[in-house]
């Protein structure tokens, strides 16, 4: 097991190297480069060559890349071209906000998805099964930003409630903070619950057809025991995969919710950085996101081992 984890960690190196190279080269291919953008803004240098030199963009590509990787290995993600703030500090300040939103959304999603998914499978093809499935797919079909807009407008018309324009950190006022995040989390969670619910349902359906479940019925075990002890444990493995994949989609989905609900998280930061062509920030966030997703996948594979003793790590 530890050897397997170690090997996966070693494999992380080439993937991350490719990630940095990819991000590094792609943002330099974006039309509308930072230098032109800065020169069109007031108050920045008017001398193109001088500006390029200042930003380190006058160097050939491979030199820039090697210098960047060297810095990253020392834990330095560079400074933002526009604000001159260290990128790592900025990311670390925003990461907890996005993570809180993602975890809250995940909790809401699971709270809806698991019970409905299990119930739908156990009572397959009853009207409740149809209702839950229709609801789940409905949740998946509605664009999140549209639902958020409709909810905000409806709330402001009927209850004169508008989402707060200023973000309150959890440490300062937990109640206020949660009140602010709960709505975007529910909307994100709804879309997420749909795929987890469907996966749960189809996995439970499959396990229900296994011989050992028939044996459990034949032994005369009550339904709750059959489901809890024999079905759920075996049905949960692919569900964990879907959850892991969804978490990475969730990190992308926060981009939209953060800009609607004015939450200063990573998503909003990335969107602004792309708009303003802030190379170090885009590179830093993407490196962070990619590392996070890869680490998550590793974690899922390890969790597999605990859920299913048949899986051997080779």
């Amino acid at each position: 097991m530890s050897r397997y984890v170690l090997r996966r960690l070693v494999l992380l190196v080439p993937t991350l190297a490719l990630v940095t190279l990819l991000v590094f080269s792609i943002i330099r291919l974006l039309p509308g480069d930072i230098v032109t953008l800065m020169m069109s803004e007031q108050g920045y240098a008017s001398d193109k060559a001088k500006l390029e030199q200042m930003l380190g963009l006058d160097q050939p590509f491979h030199r820039q890349y090697v210098a960047y990787v060297g810095k990253v290995l020392q834990g330095d993600l560079g400074v933002s071209f526009w604000t001159k703030e260290p990128v790592l500090d900025e990311i670390l300040r925003r990461l907890p906000v996005s993570l809180e939103l993602a975890v809250l959304a995940m909790c809401f999603g699971l709270l809806i998805a698991l019970p409905t998914g299990i119930f739908s499978a156990v009572r397959q093809d009853t009207w409740l099964d149809y209702l839950f499935r229709t609801g789940a797919i409905g949740g998946l079909s509605v664009p999140g930003f549209w639902m958020a807009t409709v909810v905000i407008v409806a709330a402001s018309i009927w209850w004169q409630w508008v989402p707060p324009m200023r973000y309150t950190p959890f440490a300062r006022d937990p109640v206020k903070n949660l009140a602010q995040l709960v709505l975007p989390a529910i909307i994100l969670g709804l879309a997420l619950s749909a795929s987890v619910m469907r996966m749960t349902r189809s996995m439970v359906l499959e396990v229900l057809r296994e011989d050992y479940v028939r044996t459990a019925w034949a032994k005369g075990l009550p339904e709750s025991l059959v489901i809890a002890r024999h079905v759920l444990k075996n049905a949960m493995i692919p569900v964990v995969t879907v959850m892991g994949l969804q978490l990475s989609a969730l990190l992308g989905g926060t981009v939209i919710m953060e800009s609607i609900f004015v939450i200063p998280g990573m998503g909003k930061f990335l969107l602004d950085a792309i708009t303003w062509r802030d190379y170090p920030v885009i590179q830093g966030i993407n490196l962070f996101l990619a590392t996070g997703v890869i680490a998550l996948n590793l974690l899922i594979d390890v969790i597999y081992g605990f859920l299913d003793p048949r899986i051997r790590f080779g």
Binding site: P14, T15, L18, V19, L22, I26, I27, L29, L30, P31, Q124, D125, Y130, R133, T134, I137, G138, L140, S141, V142, P143, G144, F145, W146, T149, V150, V153, S156, I157, R198, S202, L205, E206, L208, R209, V213, R214, W217, A218, S248, A249, L250, L251, G252, G253, V255, I256, S259, L270, L271, I274, N286, L289, A290, V293, I294
Partner: protein
């Protein structure tokens, strides 16, 4: 199994199929169905509420929302089918070749959240319908290539492939006669679900300002641009395209799910052994 029995057994799937048929018909017959020109500006008709002359109201340029939603079906189908076709070609190529470099590239692509990949590709290509299709196609390839590849790998190990090879079949014959029909099931599921994902992703891109540019009547652009600005004053501007997107994605998902259930013999029939 007759069509009628399938529809009775899978009412949700049948509903999805009907929705998709409706969508297809709307897309094909848009010029016949739409009462007005979807692009022509009529400043005298600005922001009119739904009425008999404009069933779904008008937008801030006085354009008929119903006509724009109808033409939007065309754009959405075009987007979805184009993206799925690109996914198919890229995945097919990738699935057929077991190439270390390509595999690592797919791994790398999968390490980013989907929307981030789409945003970056769109920022690189610039706005435009063709570019949105390309971005959705490339962005959707990573996950789907895996599904198709694993399906091909599973089929390839079967004995009948070995027999076909032993009787002297050529590679292309094996691919066309034996592999393609057997992976038709996962392909159909990928296509139907992929269409839904593409329509939804286009609306997210539009919201972030990287979608199909105006005045093209795309559903995503309609509900994210001025649709959001006039949400309180003229809610119909965003509500109807929103409903159109939701119904289309709903239909594709229902149909995809039903197809998956029908094509997977393991999921047919009820659970055994229950009293």
């Amino acid at each position: 199994m007759s069509l009628f029995r399938v529809m009775r057994g899978k009412p949700l799937g049948a509903l999805g199929g009907l929705l998709i048929l409706g969508l297809l018909a709307t897309a094909l017959l848009a010029p016949v169905l739409a009462p007005y020109d979807p692009i022509k500006v009529r400043s005298s008709d600005r922001l009119q509420a739904p009425s008999l002359s404009h069933l779904l109201g008008t937008d801030d340029f006085g354009r008929d929302i119903l006509s724009r939603v109808i033409y939007g079906a065309r754009i959405s189908m075009l987007l979805g089918l184009g993206a799925v076709a690109i996914i198919g070609i890229l995945s097919g190529y990738y699935g057929g070749r077991i190439d270390m470099v390509l595999q690592r590239c797919i791994d790398t692509l999968m390490a980013f959240p989907g929307l981030v990949v789409l945003l970056t590709i769109m920022a690189m290509l610039g706005q435009g319908l063709g570019n949105v299709i390309l971005a959705l196609g490339i962005g959707g390839t990573a996950a789907n290539a895996r599904i198709i590849r694993s399906a091909v790998l599973a089929i390839r190990e079967n004995q009948y492939i070995e027999v076909a090879r032993a009787t002297g079949c050529q590679d292309w014959q094996i691919i066309v006669r034996h592999i393609l029909p057997n992976i038709a099931a996962p392909i159909m599921v990928v296509v139907t679900l992929g269409l839904g994902v593409a329509i939804l992703a286009e609306s997210a891109l539009s919201f972030l300002g990287f979608g199909v540019p105006p005045p093209t009547p795309s559903w995503g652009a309609m509900l994210s641009g001025s649709g959001r600005t006039y949400m309180i004053q003229a809610p119909w501007m965003a509500i109807f395209p929103g409903i159109a997107i939701s119904l289309a994605v709903f239909g594709f998902n229902m149909l995809g799910d039903a197809l998956r259930d029908l094509l997977d013999p393991k999921l047919r029939g009820g659970p055994q052994g229950r009293a």
